[in-house]
């Protein structure tokens, strides 16, 4: 087969050096499994290479910089694993087929494909309602407002429902925590709802039981609790913001005064809470007003990505970086961080600093800012003094318009110092607002206390509501060992997980899309959680569970929530007025005026009593929740597992991440020539040991190692089981976010990591083109300048030859001046690389999950990908994100090569993909310079699992094996909006059609619309001088164009 493709390959207009080289060298050799090199990475060579390009070169990975043959071979092959020499999927086909057999097979399949048209349609049934519900019009979706409860603040959602099936999640425009956008977790929640691995029955000691048996068991135990005032009763739950649950908890503790309610969050805000207590003497909820901030300093805080608040913050941040012309201004972001993060990638100045040294920096900064009482602490060595001085001046210049944010990984002292500095700079009350805590559950992590209670034999019943402590608890607590001593253990959760396994009872929990509740958003705004569907597996809501514990098993969650709010109504409100209020709240998804009031809190920080800086000696290890599966609770979600992590592009795995310099040092310590990505290493912390694959992360702080929590689950389900390695065993209660004196040694062996960094690589010219030449500039896929550059030359990103080359084509120009002409812009200045667009597209367009092996083979199916480019040196490169969907070329290279007309152009400028015509030649993908086409090498879509049928968007075909697919600007949404407008005899309004990626984007980086309408948002954006197209020299004339990224460095520091 490779011969066939070689011939075709030579007919392509774009020839890559690497392509030919790859074919010559690897003609008969086995194609490497992935671009990840077997041999150690040669950092010295990379540095030399970077030095020669004077820091202007963009690079995607260390392998690319090193120019390893494995990398060259991987990117050279269109499909690294052709079925003909496929060693991954099936060993029996790995021998190459002779050319004659190929021709015979081709002839036979051509003949047979004609016959496939002669099928009779199967007989279908239509099953109408007996009594039709009033609102449902078959074929038209309904949208319901609800909220996704999360520990740090709920996110308001609008959920699309087709005939009672929730299929797609959108943000609720009215909800302050959403503003119409969502994040990856909200998008993927609908897959969890239909997850066939969810717990489906009540289980008693490993056997199927039922709800009534459980009620009997609780009723029996209740007798004891009543006599002992609940002395042996302990409840452990996740943190919750539900006012109703708060009231229930109070009532329960009043009923059983000796009982205790503990909270356990694996990655909770313990440091932030303790920091607030240091500064204010009480816990607070910090609401950042990034829209008011001109200068922002992040102390290891990934506020643009981490947690549900990032959606709101990303919008406010991006709004302050919107460029309409040279007169526009931008905020400035300084970031100090140990682990490269999305926030760090957006920074104008970023310093990689070890997690534990940031405390010292914060003290020095506080001293430099003259924060009362701060001693003359010196900044840790190695930090550029000029940088700090400039930062201090910048913050002082923007009093009341600056903001200092401390991250969860930082100790309480850093949080306290951030509060003190914000107060001293006059930022408090302006860029940061304090309110009462939004959580209703206790704000301390109760694991240690609970464990000692168990040791003392004080616990007779432990009810675990949603939490999974045997997987997530700190190792030194020894919870898993002690847990077994509790005489009655009850678990309530979505999955029969590691903890449920060890419990006497397990009760399935209703998903939030199946249950009634309420939840506070980031600023305290209350949203009602209303169900979209009746519980699929007869799960119960947490309110029903607590009600059962209180001896009221008959109460439904709906009644509990509604009665709570009825009890809260003002005295004068009539029943009718309450009904109206309730209906309005359900309809809008938010309770009007329920945001918590801002509190003016004086900082009373005694610097003398500030806890001493923690030990920072030796190699440090930083624990962070995984960017896509969180603390492990989303481990069984295929969309999230297959979503590439923002900076490493690793899917289906976690890794031991460290800086190139650290890798070099460790290699020489180990007496090795070098280390390579995927080498298994053993991490030892205070005698605790884990093993995982290595990943050298450019821009990581030196002498620091980051590991993501959430992997290595044993009872997550068929998707999340035995994926990655479990990091929790390394954690201890004194080392929850970081630890020191980490020992690292080579464990021997390698693991292939499924990184998509090299997949679908756009040919950026490589070394053929001279730097600084026009040809090189036209191939520059990421265009970046500073705000200063832009003001002096607004056309810095413009393609010098675009206008002249436009008509250089052999084909007659099509007249696109009439009707709707769809186009899109992606503003690189706004994109934070969060990946929400990827999951939203997957949800909207029924895109399958393929699994780790197929991802390694380069067969990931996501239609939009977020490319990741580095620029600059290895130790602190700039990072740029670039989302790439189908570019909808006006001169589409894919169309001409399709032998069956399965991809054709519409008069509205869409590059259409007709699945039912596609015979799977893959010529189109071969010819696509942007590499945005995805081929169903196998039957990836699940055509058998019943529960997943409910998930599918009925307006998009579920593709089968052998079919090419790609982005079509959500043509189903375009058609439906056009039909509605035609029926009303009007044109489609700007903003009426919102593609899935545009709708979800927290920073509003993606804008779609009609480019023939000069007033449309997209036309105006395309009119900006920052507008450019990718690989413009091919004259494909893409409809998707990009707006150049601008940086706003402090002139005192200059470009770092």
């Amino acid at each position: 087969m490779s011969d066939v493709f070689k011939i075709l390959g030579e007919r392509q207009p774009v020839k890559r050096d690497a392509e030919r080289r790859g074919h010559d060298e690897h003609e008969e050799k086995f194609i490497p499994v992935a671009a990840v090199s077997e041999r150690p990475l040669d950092f010295a060579a990379m540095r030399a290479r970077l030095a020669s390009s004077q820091g202007k070169r963009f690079w995607q990975s260390l392998e690319e910089l090193a120019g390893t043959p494995e990398y060259a071979a991987f990117v050279a092959h269109e499909f690294p694993h052709d079925p003909a020499n496929d060693a991954v999927a099936d060993d029996t086909t790995s021998s190459k087929l002779p050319r004659r057999d190929i021709l015979k097979l081709m002839a036979a399949s051509a003949a047979l494909s004609g016959l496939s048209a002669c099928t009779k349609l199967p007989v279908e049934k239509i099953v109408p309602y007996v009594r039709a519900p009033e609102e449902i019009i078959p074929g038209k979706p309904l949208f319901y407002a609800t909220s996704m409860p999360r520990a740090r603040g709920a996110m308001g959602l609008l959920v699309e429902s087709h005939m009672g099936r929730p299929t797609k999640v959108e943000g609720n425009l009215e909800h302050p925590g959403s503003l119409g956008s969502t994040d990856i977790f909200a998008q993927a929640s609908v897959l969890t709802l239909y997850d066939p691995d969810r717990s489906q029955v009540v289980v008693r000691e490993g056997r199927i039981s039922d709800w009534s048996a459980f009620l009997t068991a609780v009723a029996n135990a209740r007798g004891d609790w009543q006599t002992s005032k609940g002395a042996g009763l302990r409840i452990l739950s996740d943190a919750s913001t539900s006012p109703t649950l708060g009231a229930q908890m109070k009532a329960l503790l009043a009923m059983y005064p000796e009982a205790k309610w503990y909270v356990h969050e694996a990655c909770g805000p313990a440091n932030a809470r303790d920091g607030a207590k240091l500064a204010f003497g009480r816990g607070v909820n910090c609401v950042y007003r990034l829209a008011q901030a001109d200068v922002i300093l992040s102390l290891d805080a990934d506020f643009l990505y981490d947690g549900p608040r990032s959606v709101r913050y990303a919008r406010e941040f991006a709004d302050r970086r919107r460029i309409t012309g040279p007169q526009s201004s931008m905020n400035r972001l300084y970031v100090l961080e140990s682990t490269p993060s999305n926030t760090g990638a957006m920074a104008d100045h970023r310093l990689p600093v070890r997690c534990r040294e940031i405390d010292g920096f914060a003290r020095a900064l506080a001293a430099a800012l003259g924060v009362g009482g701060a001693s003359g602490a010196a900044a840790p060595e190695g930090l550029p003094a000029k940088w700090i001085e400039a930062l201090v001046r910048d913050l002082q210049k923007h009093r009341g318009a600056g903001l200092i944010v401390a991250g969860d990984s930082q100790p309480p002292s850093v949080h306290a110092l951030a509060h003190a500095m914000n107060a001293a700079l006059g930022n408090a009350g302006k860029t940061v607002v304090y309110t009462d805590a939004i959580e209703v559950t206790p704000d301390t992590d109760g694991m240690a206390e609970l464990a000692s209670d168990i040791d003392a034999g004080a616990v007779t019943t432990l009810v675990i509501l949603g939490s999974n402590p045997t997987y997530t608890a700190a190792t030194d607590v020894g919870f898993s060992q002690k847990f077994g001593k509790v005489p009655l253990r009850i678990h309530f959760g979505l999955y029969r997980d590691e903890t449920a396994e060890l419990c006497h009872w397990h009760v399935p929990e209703a998903h939030f899309l199946e249950s009634w509740s309420d939840a506070r958003g980031y600023d305290g705004t209350i949203g009602i959680v209303q169900p979209l569907i009746a519980p699929l597996y007869d799960g119960k809501s947490i309110h029903e569970m607590v009600s059962v514990l209180m001896g009221k098993p008959g109460n439904s969650a709906h009644d509990i929530v509604r009665d709570y709010w009825k009890g809260q109504r003002p005295a004068k409100q009539t029943d009718k007025q309450f009904e109206d209020f309730w209906e309005t709240t359900l309809h809008d998804g938010v309770m009007a005026g329920s945001a918590l009031p801002a509190r003016a809190l004086p900082v009373s920080l005694d610097f003398g009593k500030l806890p001493a800086s923690g030990n920072s000696g030796g190699l440090e290890v930083v624990f962070r929740p995984d960017p896509t599966i969180g603390d492990g609770r989303y481990a069984n979600n295929g969309w999230l597992q297959e979503l590439p992590k923002p900076l490493t592009k690793i899917t289906w795995d976690n890794a031991v991440m460290l800086a190139p310099a650290t890798a070099e040092r460790l290699a020489s310590q180990m007496g090795l020539k070098g280390l390579a990505n995927g080498d298994l290493v053993e991490l030892g912390l205070e005698g605790r040991k884990i093993t995982g694959p290595l990943w050298v992360m450019p821009g990581h702080a030196k002498d620091s190692v980051t590991v993501y929590l959430g992997y290595g689950r044993k009872r997550a389900g068929r998707v999340g089981n035995s994926v990655g390695f479990n990091v929790y065993p390394l954690r201890a209660s004194h080392a929850m976010t970081s630890g020191t004196n980490l020992l690292i040694s080579r464990a021997g062996g390698k693991q292939v990591l499924a990184t998509t960094q090299h997949h679908h690589a756009i040919d950026r010219g490589g070394e053929k083109v001279e730097e600084e030449s026009v040809a090189a500039f036209r191939r520059e896929v990421v265009r970046v300048g500073t705000l200063g550059d832009y003001r002096s030359d607004p056309n810095f990103a413009k393609d010098p030859e675009e206008a002249t080359s436009r008509d250089l084509t052999l084909y007659p120009n099509y007249d696109y001046s009439k009707g709707y002409q769809w186009g899109m812009t992606i503003d690189l200045n706004s994109c934070t690389g969060c990946g929400a667009c990827v999951v939203a597209c997957q949800s909207e367009n029924n895109i399958p999950v393929v699994g780790k092996e197929q991802v390694i083979a380069g067969r990931d199916m996501q239609w939009i990908r977020v490319d990741n480019y580095f620029r600059g040196n290895l130790d602190n490169p700039e990072t740029y994100y670039e989302p790439v969907p189908c570019q909808q070329c006006e001169n589409a290279p894919c169309e001409g090569v399709c032998p069956v007309g399965a991809t054709v152009h519409s008069p509205e400028g869409l590059n259409e993909m007709v699945y039912n015509r596609c015979v799977g030649t893959r010529y189109c993908s071969n010819n696509c310079p942007y590499k945005v086409r995805r081929f169903n090498f196998e039957l990836y879509s699940d055509w058998t699992t019943q529960s997943l049928f409910g998930l599918r968007n009925p307006n998009v075909t579920v593709r089968s094996r052998g079919v090419m697919e790609k982005c079509t600007y959500c043509v189903q949404r375009i058609n439906s909006a056009k039909i509605e407008s035609e029926k009303q005899d009007r044109g489609v309004r700007d903003g009426e059609i919102v593609t899935a990626c545009e709708a979800v984007c927290p920073s509003r980086a993606i804008v779609f619309g009609n480019i023939n309408d000069p007033e449309s948002r997209v036309s105006k954006l395309k009119g900006q001088s920052r507008n450019y197209s990718l690989v413009a020299d091919l004259n494909t004339r893409p409809r998707t164009t990009y707006l150049a990224r601008l940086r706003n460095p402090n002139p005192e520091i200059g470009e770092s």
Binding site: G114, A117, C118, K120, L121, V123, E124, K125, I126, V127, P128, Y129, V130, R131, A132, I137, P138, G139, K140, V904, H905, S906, P907, E908, L910, E912, V914, Y915, N916, R917, N955, V956, T957, T968, V971, Q972, N975, I979, E982, K983, D985
Partner: protein, 216 residues
């Protein structure tokens, strides 16, 4: 050495070569004919239904409007099939003892849907929208045939792509004034082409033949 083949073999071989072309063509024609035939398409074949519902009686004789039962035809892609409740609006009063209607009563009594057999079916990769066709002056009977004459319902057209394209390419041949869209007695006027062209302009009917109009 004696020749293996006689001279006449030349003729036979020529005939069979040229003949093969005809045979292939004939085969192709047969397959084409077959795919369009009622054997494959079930056009004009009345379907058995759980209740022998007669459009002829309800529409032709009683004159009930299409939209009385197919309520969502003007709003949605799907025209809608009536819930049992719609049947019972009349049949709780008339023909209350008819054995033929027992499945309807049973459905209402037991709250169990009636499972009708689909008559006009499209493949799953075709996304047809009733509401826009109705809004642009395509009459019900244009596609569904003389419903008022069907005692048991059958499909009047193949609903194959070439048939769809017939109208999508030349809508003027088929459109009718909007007020007659739901009429079953409307007859194509002799000046259809002239009227059609006028209506195409008036209703802003577009020639939509690009793939994503129906496939996505």
């Amino acid at each position: 050495m004696a020749q293996i083949f006689r001279h006449s073999t030349n003729l036979i071989s020529r005939l069979s070569i040229y003949g093969a072309a005809f045979i292939v063509a004939a085969l192709g024609y047969a397959v084409y004919g077959l795919t369009g035939s009622p054997y494959v398409t079930d056009v004009n074949v009345a379907r058995d239904q759980p209740v022998p519902f007669s459009h002829k009686h309800h529409v032709g004789e009683l004159g009930i409007d299409c939209r009385y039962c197919h309520t969502s035809v003007e709003q949605s892609s799907f025209a809608g099939l009536p819930p049992t409740q719609t049947c019972m609006t009349c049949h709780s009063r008339i023909w209350t003892n008819a054995s033929m209607l027992e499945p309807v009563r049973a459905s209402y009594r037991d709250d169990k849907s009636i499972s009708w057999t689909r008559v006009n079916a499209l493949p799953d990769f075709v996304y047809f929208n009733h509401s826009i066709h109705v809004a642009k002056g395509v009459g019900c009977t244009t596609c569904h045939g003389p419903m008022q004459e069907m005692p048991l319902t059958w499909a009047a057209n193949t609903l194959q792509m070439s048939w769809c394209l017939g109208c999508h390419r030349e809508p003027e041949k088929y459109v009718r004034p909007k007020e007659y869209v739901f009429s079953t007695t409307y007859e194509t006027p002799s000046n259809q082409l002239e009227l059609g062209r006028k209506l195409v302009k008036e209703y802003k009917i577009q020639i939509l033949t690009n793939c994503s109009t129906c496939h996505r």
